[in-house]
């Protein structure tokens, strides 16, 4: 076949790819997404099957029988687990707007720039040869098609780059990747056109491989059965029929595990399965569709391998070329071309996706943080960084491809197709502890992750990369290292031994440093979000702990820098609508907005860069452990809300009970007040009745004798006095009750007061022929009191006694003496006594009101109430002596002046004020 035709076909195919991608993008723009279904998602996962597997599986089957299946069995067996891990991973990435594997690791471990850079560099080192391998496959396919069977399908390298078809194909692929993989700044926006193209390529490679398989089985040979029976006759092949478990089981297990890791951790896999995922429910279908795909594409590997062996028995033909060589042997050019395109598709899809993934990592994890740390450089790029960002990404795509091509040109000639795939697998497997540990182990720390990755990569370099390099001397220590560490012999022993030891050192360092170095609170916070993503998925922005000061306009300008002004405004508007609040640009941004902006930014420039960027406008304060505890406490408080509500309602009930009590008391008081008023008014009726009656009598009887007239007039005067006394008493009580009553205290002698009281009552005493005994202590100390009030008390008590005693036989004893700082006064009579169980009730101003029976007590009853109030206000005490057989003994204590003075200047200066 002519080389020109093949190249034209290749470019035509690429044109179709462009068309498909364009269509996919257009559909996405019209909201009729092609990729939003599980079938496209599953097909895009098949980017896993590269040219290496497309051509190389046959080669491996040729030499190692069904051993080639290990790299497919791992992913297949791991699917159920993959489902669980992947779902969580997708959730984390959607919430955190993670753009790549490096971003994932960096984001999990404190948004560390260093870790992101480390992972990116190791990814590039690990994957670049792998991409080179695919470029080799492009060239390889073209050469096989050009060669004829007689030459044994040998491959040569063209003399100059410019005459190398692979170079031009790589360039076209670069452009495709730039157009469909780096068109927008926000990497989290999916590349629907690209995914459409990848899915198509997956269909094509499956179709092509099946076609070749069918061709070999039913056209080259009679049937698969014929191939197997012919092969069974060959001694060299018979050993391939046997699955020698005893020697290889370890290898099966190891390679399967390695492949399972690779399915998640290869940058291109992460890209299609996580970043490009539209709906996490697509995983559910993918867990059986993808293994089904793997099964189908491997269905004819053994027949093709055996067929090739049988057909090229007498020639030296590389078994890796069988897929193309067999159709060519039968001169079936169409099938050969389709087979070639299948391999071409496998290679291009891998190149495209890997390049996108790596360029995102390079631009977001290395270039961007470096740029952001150099403000001068950043300033020169102007305000709109979206263009700069895109150019960065685009140029990194080209750089990667050129590097890969150069690698292929100068180092890739000797490497076998299958081997470098597995070496890459081991390289990316070094991220497994950091990624999976980070998703399930909160204590995993930044230091642990970095140490683990370093240890793993150094081991990987020492055991897999360095020994095979030409510059390493034969039998030097480095070359012999894999042998020294070997613990078994097998076809893939070098891979497995390197895998084992690298993982061993990696995991050990990871765990050791995670335990020995404490996480910062911010790091811990990220860890919490990753591990408990389901808890945070919805409330993510609220739960993130952030403290600081920022203004909306600063945030807006940052977003505009990386997303373009229009889009930044749109995003903020959308956010405001979601949150149901308005965002003014001169306002202070709240923590939620800052977090939201950071995650938006992370979508464009990666989380570590976004963190750097945000901290340039946000005056962030380090969150102390105490604050973290506070936030935890807050959530605890919400938890205990119910309990507190209970407490509150109990408290409320207590309060309402108390209120009821107080109200009851008030009601009672109100009632008593009414009764009091009615008692008082009733009491007033008596003098008024007398005054009115005599007034009328005097009016109606002008002829009255002078004596009689004078008698009646004196009754009127007497009743008027009684009336005014009653009014004064009521006013007194009111004044004491309301606290308006002020005492005008002076130093005074109780003896004088008693004498004065007796003098004013002398008439009554003499009228009733009462014997009055006065027994007052000599030199009795003075009291400090309102003299008029104490006089009122004495008059009250003595006149009560006068009322109670019988005329003629009455006896009243008044005694006074000093006792324990107080002056005690007793008034004793020999009257009829008080018929009362609780005589102290008599001091109650409401007593009469409460016991308003028809048995009318002596006097108004207010006198005693006032007396008690006066004594109380002087800081004294008054009481009845119980248990007297006859008469009444009433006593009171009033502090002596000295005691009163000692009580302190405060009371003295203010005067004694009512307390109740």
């Amino acid at each position: 076949m002519s080389g020109g035709l093949i190249v034209i076909i290749s470019f035509l195919y690429l044109a179709i790819l462009f068309g498909l991608a364009f269509w996919g993008e257009k559909r996405a723009g019209k909201q009729k997404s092609l990729v939003n279904n599980p079938y496209v998602y599953s097909l895009s996962l098949a980017v896993y099957c590269t040219a290496w597997t497309y051509f190389g599986s046959v080669g491996r089957a040729y030499s190692g029988g069904i051993d080639f299946l290990t790299i497919y069995m791992g992913p297949t067996f791991m699917m159920p687990l993959w489902y669980i891990v992947m779902r969580k991973m997708i959730r984390i990435c959607k919430v955190q707007r993670i753009t790549s594997l490096a971003d994932f690791i960096s984001s999990r471990y404190d948004k560390s720039v260093g870790l992101g850079t480390l992972v990116t560099i190791f990814c590039v080192i690990g994957i670049l040869p792998y991409i080179a391998l695919q470029i080799k496959a492009l060239d390889f396919g073209i050469q096989i098609l050009q060669a004829d069977s007689m030459s044994g399908f040998t491959i040569t390298t063209s003399a100059s780059i410019l005459s190398d078809n692979a170079f031009y194909l790589a360039l076209v692929l670069g452009f495709f990747t730039i157009i469909y993989g780096a068109r927008k700044a926000d990497v989290t926006e999916r590349h629907e056109g690209m995914v459409t193209a990848i899915a198509f390529e997956s269909i094509l490679k499956l179709f092509a491989f099946l076609l070749v398989g069918i061709f070999v089985c039913w056209f080259a040979f009679d049937s698969p059965k014929a191939i197997f029976s012919l092969a069974a006759e060959q001694e060299a092949l018979s050993k391939l029929f046997v699955f020698d478990g005893s020697s290889h089981y370890l290898e099966w297990l190891g390679i399967s595990l390695l492949a399972a890791f690779a399915l998640v951790l290869l940058p291109r896999q992460f890209q299609v399965s996580v970043v490009e995922n539209v709906n996490e429910q697509h995983i559910e279908k993918a867990i059986w569709l993808f293994p089904a795909y793997l099964l189908l594409i491997n269905l004819f590997v053994i027949p093709i391998a055996f067929g090739g062996y049988l057909l090229f028995q007498n020639q030296v033909v590389d078994p890796d070329t069988f897929v193309l060589a067999i159709p060519l042997l039968f001169e079936n050019n169409w099938i050969a071309i389709i087979a070639y395109l299948g391999g071409f598709a496998a290679a291009t899809s891998m190149i495209i996706v890997s390049t996108i993934a790596l360029s995102t990592m390079i631009s977001n994890q290395i270039i961007m943080p470096t740029l952001l740390n150099r403000p001068a450089l950043l300033a020169r790029l102007g305000n709109d960084l979206t263009k700069a960002l895109l150019y960065m990404r685009r140029s990194s795509i080209l750089v990667i491809l050129i590097l890969a091509y150069l690698y292929y040109r100068f180092a890739g000639q000797d490497i076998s197709l299958i081997n470098f795939g597995l070496i890459s697998f081991v390289a990316v497997a070094q991220f497994a502890p950091a990624v999976f540990g980070g998703m399930y182990w909160k204590n995993a720390s930044k230091r642990g992750a970095a140490a683990g990755i370093w240890a793993g990569f150094i081991t990987w370099m020492l055991l897999l990369v360095l020994p095979s390099l030409p510059i390493i001397k034969e039998m030097s220590l480095i070359q012999r290292l894999p042998e020294l560490l070997a613990f078994y012999e097998g076809p893939q022993s070098n891979i497995l031994i390197a895998f084992f030891w690298s993982m061993f050192f990696n995991v050990t360092c990871y765990i050791y440093f995670s335990f020995s170095v404490k996480q910062s609170s911010r790091e811990r916070n990220q860890a919490e979000v990753f591990v408990d993503i389901n808890k945070y998925a919805r409330v993510f922005e609220q739960s993130i702990m952030w403290k600081g000061l920022a203004y909306v306009k600063d945030i807006e300008s940052i977003l505009a820098k990386f997303m373009g002004e229009v889009k930044a405004k749109k995003q903020l508007k959308k956010y405001a609508a979601q949150q149901g609040k308005t965002i003014q640009s001169d306002e202070r941004a709240d923590a939620q907005l800052v977090n939201h902006a950071e995650s938006l930014l992370a979508g464009a420039i990666g989380s570590a860069s976004a963190r750097i960027m945000m901290s340039s406008v946000v005056k962030e304060e380090e969150i102390s452990i105490n604050e973290v505890l506070d936030i935890l406490k807050e959530s605890q408080q919400i938890m205990s809300m119910n309990r507190e509500l209970q407490d509150k309602s109990d408290e409320l009930k207590r309060l309402s009970d108390r209120l009821w009590e107080v109200n009851e008391q008030l009601r009672l008081n109100d009632h008593l007040k009414d009764e009091f008023i009615s008692t008082v008014t009733h009491e007033m009726r008596t003098p008024i009745t007398a005054i009115k009656a005599f007034g009328e009598i005097l009016l109606d009887n002008k002829e009255l004798e002078d004596d009689e007239r004078n008698q009646f007039l004196s009754v009127i005067v007497k009743e008027a006095v009684r009336m005014s006394r009653l009014i004064n008493q009521v006013l007194d009580i009111e004044r004491f009750d309301s606290g308006k009553q002020k005492l005008e205290c002076t130093s005074c002698s109780i003896q004088e007061i008693i004498n004065e009281a007796i003098a004013s009552l002398e008439q009554l005493i003499n009228d009733k022929k009462i014997v009055l005994v006065k027994d007052i202590q000599q030199q009795i100390p003075p009291i400090y009191a309102d003299k008029d009030r104490i006089l009122q008390v004495m008059i009250n008590l003595i006149s009560n006694a006068i009322k109670f005693v019988e005329e003629g036989s009455g006896k009243i004893i008044i005694s006074a003496y000093y006792i324990d700082g107080d002056i005690k006064v007793n008034v004793i009579d020999n009257g009829k006594g008080i018929n009362e169980e609780q005589p102290e009730l008599l001091f109650d101003k409401f007593y009469q009101a409460q016991n308003q029976n028809t048995k009318k007590p002596e006097g108004s009853g207010l006198g005693l109430a006032i007396t008690k109030k006066i004594i109380d206000h002087h800081g004294g005490k008054i009481w009845f002596d119980k248990g007297l057989k006859q008469g009444v003994k009433i006593s009171f204590l009033i502090p002596s002046e000295r005691k009163y003075r000692r009580k302190g200047a405060m009371d003295a200066s203010e005067g004694v004020v009512a307390k109740d």
């Binding site: 009726r685 008024i688 007398a690 009754v715 028809t854 048995k855 009318k856």
Partner: protein, 126 residues
């Protein structure tokens, strides 16, 4: 015509005594319920002017006694009280009072009521 006036307030009692005397009634005075009952039994007056609130035996008890005692049952009972609530009046009439006058009272009204009551009683007796 014999009238008994009962009140524990000396001034009021004095005014009532004067009024009765002035209008040619044969007047008896009592300072409390106990004293009143003694006089009632001794003198059997046609009318009693009765205060309610008194020590020991109150006006209600006196009225009750009068209505229970056959010899006194035709006596005219006039309450003269500072109590003026509806319930007090009700109780008084239940116990068999003929008139109820509130304090402070108009002297002329009291005399009219006494005169009316005497005439009523005489009319009934015929």
């Amino acid at each position: 015509m014999k009238v008994l006036v009962v009140d524990d307030e000396p001034s009021i009692l004095m005014s009532l005594e004067f009024l009765m005397r002035k209008n040619n009634y044969e007047v008896f005075i009592a300072r409390d319920g106990k004293e009143a009952i003694e006089i009632l039994n001794a003198e059997q007056p046609q009318v009693i002017v009765l205060d309610i609130m008194m020590p020991e035996v109150d006006g209600y008890e006196v009225c009750e006694y009068i209505r229970k005692t056959e010899a006194l049952s035709k006596m005219g009972v006039i309450f003269l009280s500072a109590k003026s609530k509806e319930s007090d009046l009700e109780k008084a009439f239940q116990l068999g009072a003929d008139r109820y006058i509130s304090k402070p009272f108009a002297t002329k009204n009291l005399l009219v009521q006494i005169q009316e009551l005497i005439e009523e009683k005489e009319l009934r007796a015929i």
